[in-house]
Amino acid sequence: MTDVSADLATQAVRPNDRSLFVRDERTTRRHRAEMRFRMMGLAAVTFGIIALLGLMASILNNGVSSFSQTYVKLAINLDASKLDKSGKRDPAELQKVTTFAYQPLIKAALVKTMAEHGISVDGVNAKQAAELISKEAPAQLRRYVLAHPDKIGETITFELLAAGRIDGYYKGRVTMESAALDRNVSPEQLRLADQMREAGILEKRFNWSFFTAPDASDTRPEAAGLGVAILGSAYMMLVVLVLSLPIGVAASIYLEEFAPQNRFTDIIEVNISNLAAVPSIVFGILGLAIFINIAGLPQSAPLVGGLVLTLMTLPTIIIATRSALKAVPPSIRDAALGVGASKLQSIFHHVLPLAAPGILTGTIIGLAQALGETAPLLLIGMVAFVREYPGAPPEGFFDPASALPVQVYNWTTRGDPAFVERASGAIIVLLIFLAIMNITAIILRRRFERRW
């Protein structure tokens, strides 16, 4: 204030001293202040972008390789004398032959194939050569034989997974130098793998099983996939959507359109905003107490996960829905009521359709939030090693399952370095899902939202 009056005073004394074309000191100072603020804002945005790019680069750098996998093509003789001693092809008898009996068949086939192609490396015996092939291979063979008992005795060509270290060699994770120090692979084995690759026995290609296969134990990172986790997440999202959308919308309509404005509704309003800010692990504790201990629902089930995430998502949906309802101008309601519609008709025929894009956007954002949540799942037993696919709904909702963010967490705690790649790959998949959901929300909003 004093500045202004001082300024006025000077102006009054020397009215012709100022030019609009020459910047005086004060203007320069104001311009500088603006410049400084702009620079700060720009720096903040740049910092954000650099951090994001760094994160993305590190995840992509680690994870893109999980989308390809090294396979070994082998013609394996399904020796009847080893797999079916009785010769009756009796399923019960075949069932008794364990994967330990299949291992020698693979070794024999590998030795034979190597001899055919004239491949040999000094210092690699048959046992070490067989280590090039994943421990998942005998299980793959056994599954095939149990499904096709008539093929016993024939020679079938299989595509088997290469062991994690060999796969890592073709992805740059394992090098000759590191192999020399590594107890699980030797440089000679890598040279053998190189020769096999030249002979066309070994090849690297796109890894579909990363999206379909279940998790695998620590000894076979090459076989681990996201199948169960994706299915589990999908089931949970289904439960969340089916429960939280109707409950959330009904609650919002009541609060916004019918509920009287009194102390009681004020308390509810405050509580909803508070719930939206409650840490998600609290909902996990609640879920454990109510759904598992009191209601007796099974552990690790997507249904319980979905219920817990519903509790977490509800406040988000209610807040979004209420603001969408609020954005519909009162004139719409008044017009409907004016031509004789009941309150319910005015809401369901006019207000709700106009608010729908906003409600959908809120729901999708709520779902995306729920999709990335791990903490509450920790308490209800979903952070686990689950290999069995959950069944088809509705029984499948009670079967144990994993979830995408849980799988990321699980893999990062494993000892074998190959799981780092898998975990980053899972992060990429999760990010893609999240991006799709958020983009859908934006498109819905852009296309259908009306402004008054």
């Binding site: 134990s217 620590d218 007796g296 090693f385 290999r387 069995e388 370095p417």
Partner: protein, 344 residues
Amino acid sequence: MKTLKIALAAALAASALTTAAEARDQIQIKGSSTVLPYASIVAEAFGENFEYPTPVVEGGGSGAGRKALCEGVGENTIDIADSSSRIKQSDIDNCKANGVDEIQEVRIGYDGIVFASDINGSSFAFTPADWFKALAAKVVVDGKVVDNPYKSWHDVNADLPDQEILAFIPGTKHGTREVFDIKVLEDGCKESGALEAFVAAMGEKDGEKACLALRTDGASVDIDGDYTETLARLDANKQAIGVFGLSFYENNTDKLQVATMNGVTPSVDTVAKGEYPVSRPLYFYVKNAHLDVIPGLQEYIEFFVSDEMAGPDGPLAAYGLVPDPELAKTQEMVKNRTPMGPLN
């Protein structure tokens, strides 16, 4: 308020649904993250070779697993608790109080605990006394009990390289820490003669406690996460030394070099022979009341301790589990479903 009502409604709907849900048909396991990899290897092989579904294996720590085991009998409680330390009397009492009377104790083998540093750094040959002197809050210098003055491993023991003391040790929630306390710190405290000095200066009880008190000036860092976190910290700080499980080290031999303890290099072999001092048994505890209720439970535990899995040539030994020389006895016990007796 509204949300509470909604929660109640959901719970009611859920309980109505459960009556329709069928009985659980897969085994549920929870517990030690040290046993987790072994349990999942067995679970995977079990699922492959038997008609039963693959068991669900959860981590969370030995204590959490035993607590969950003792929550009661019924399909929404777990069947097996993995544990990297022996069950405690408090757990057994808790079990009894909740109606879990018979539990089987199954020892699956041994685990070595190793001290490892960056592959390109200097090599170390430790004794428990070195570790005690390097990490204890109070040490004995010239017969007097003083605050730990050592900065470098060379100060502790003239044979060790001149490298700053920085150790990443497991946090107190880990079963591994218990072994570290007993087999390294306590033994080191006794060997170096510090125990006597402590007892003389502080009395018996406080003297023994002083053996386990660690310095708080940043030379000893508790890691509450998994070994992967220790490895990441080691990668960022090449001067440090980390504490790992033997199997984790075996999987990362290209990044870590292992230190000897009392002149013995840790390996499955030396732990099995009892030469390497820092090792511990691994267990799992089975709720006997579930044995004929959950399909495949008996088969699973028998398969776990079979020679094919837990024997010296099995996949567990290949992953770093030290096989139990008394495995045959355990197999017999599991077959007879012998419940464990009182703790001795």
